[in-house]
Amino acid sequence: MTDAPKAMTDLIDLMARLPGLGPRSARRAVLHLIKKRGQLMGPLAEAMAQVSATARECLNCGNIGTTDICEICQSEKRGNGMICVVEDVADLWAMERSAQFKGRYHVLGGTLSALDAIGPDELRIPKLLDRIASEQISEVILALSATIDGQTTAHYIADQLPGVTVTSLAQGVPVGGELDYLDDGTITAALKARRAL
């Protein structure tokens, strides 16, 4: 593959396994890192070692942090009686970027899928039910994908939560979206969720 020493080819092989990278782009990245050894490679190696040693899943919500209970779950300010249910940690981070939601989260770890044999017990749904009982939750916001699997999961969770207000994110025209470019499903959803001005 390359004339580089074994340590470097091993690094290239490992980098090539990352999402979005192939052998060619991994080789370019490694070469770039070697050229910027002082400014980039050293700090990167240190940061990776630190994250590798400390990263763990929050025992309460499934978020990724550096402690057994993540900062969001520990914060008393976030205990406002609202839980936002998301599929994945990436979705949690997206919600946090918006800085609009001030409650706590619950990461399911996926969606129900008959095809992949993923049932409620494979997700963190039982833990969610425990939390709703123990944390005096008054509203559950289901921030799940607008896909058949995502919405099937949302309806399933809603059925498990009698006595709690269950809401879901609105679906419709995205910011900057032009109607001409939207699929008919999105237009249908937007029309159903229309509101008075």
Binding site: T147, I148, Y156, D184, G185
Partner: protein, 240 residues
């Protein structure tokens, strides 16, 4: 290069590598058929590849037994089902049963037409459960396990039919059942196109069709379970 083009319904899509997807569709002339969609894992394709979506499919492969590649264009979305739990459960049950019960590349044009008619009725809460029951009967019929509910298998009587034999799929009257009644399946009037067809009767009828689907179609083609989505649909009928 072998090529065909046809309309179909998306049954399932599974990510393949970083950017592609293996998509399973149901078409009239090519039955349940799989193929690779390049770029199928992209956000742009996500809406098109949702189960139940009606699509225009072009399949190309070098040899007939190759998996081949699909080029897929949207024809009609079923996204309106996502807002309604009965429609969503129904859509999942239809896709799940077709995936589990049909042999690959086995053409079933009448069943395809019935499936499109059923999906077009999604959201019509008053008629959908009955339409779904009739679709399951059509599925059994198309696969060669149609129920014979015209006359009693024991006495030949055409009146007073209240059971279905789990062995033969034929109707049995109360008089003909005798001591075997406890081992027979119920035959509510709705299965013969009679009666009020209320939700409880439809649920009972779906219990009977479910027995034949599970034992003749699903377990008959391997040790597979009934799709969980069907149980969820039964749970919702009458409750929603």
């Amino acid at each position: 290069m072998i090529e065909w083009r046809e309309d179909g319904v998306v049954l399932a899509a599974r990510k393949h590598g970083e950017t592609s997807a293996i998509v399973e569709v149901f078409t009239a002339e090519h039955g349940r058929h799989a193929g690779v969609v390049r770029g199928g894992a992209s956000r742009k394709m996500a809406a098109t590849l949702q189960p139940g979506a009606q699509v225009d499919i072009t399949w190309k492969a070098r040899l007939d037994d190759h998996l081949g590649h699909f080029t897929i264009e949207p024809v009609r979305s079923r996204a309106q089902a996502m807002g309604d739990r009965l429609s969503l459960a129904g859509l999942n049950a239809v896709a799940g049963l077709l995936t589990a019960a049909l042999a690959e590349r086995d053409a079933h044009p009448p069943l395809y037409r019935r499936t499109i008619q059923l999906l077009d009725l999604l959201g019509e809460k008053e008629v959908w459960p009955l339409a779904y029951l009739q679709w399951e009967l059509a599925l059994l019929d198309e696969m060669g396990f149609g129920l014979d509910l015209g006359a009693c298998a024991v006495t030949g009587a055409t009146e007073g039919l209240v059971y279905v034999s789990p062995k033969s799929g034929r109707a049995v009257s109360a008089a003909g059942a005798g001591e075997w009644a406890a081992k027979l399946l119920p035959l509510p009037p709705v299965l013969r196109g009679q009666g009020d067809a209320d939700d409880s009767e439809i649920r009972e009828a779906l219990g009977t069709t479910g027995y034949f689907i599970e034992h003749r179609l699903i377990k008959g083609s391997g040790d597979r379970p009934m799709p969980a989505a069907r149980a969820r649909l039964l749970d919702l009928i009458g409750r929603v």
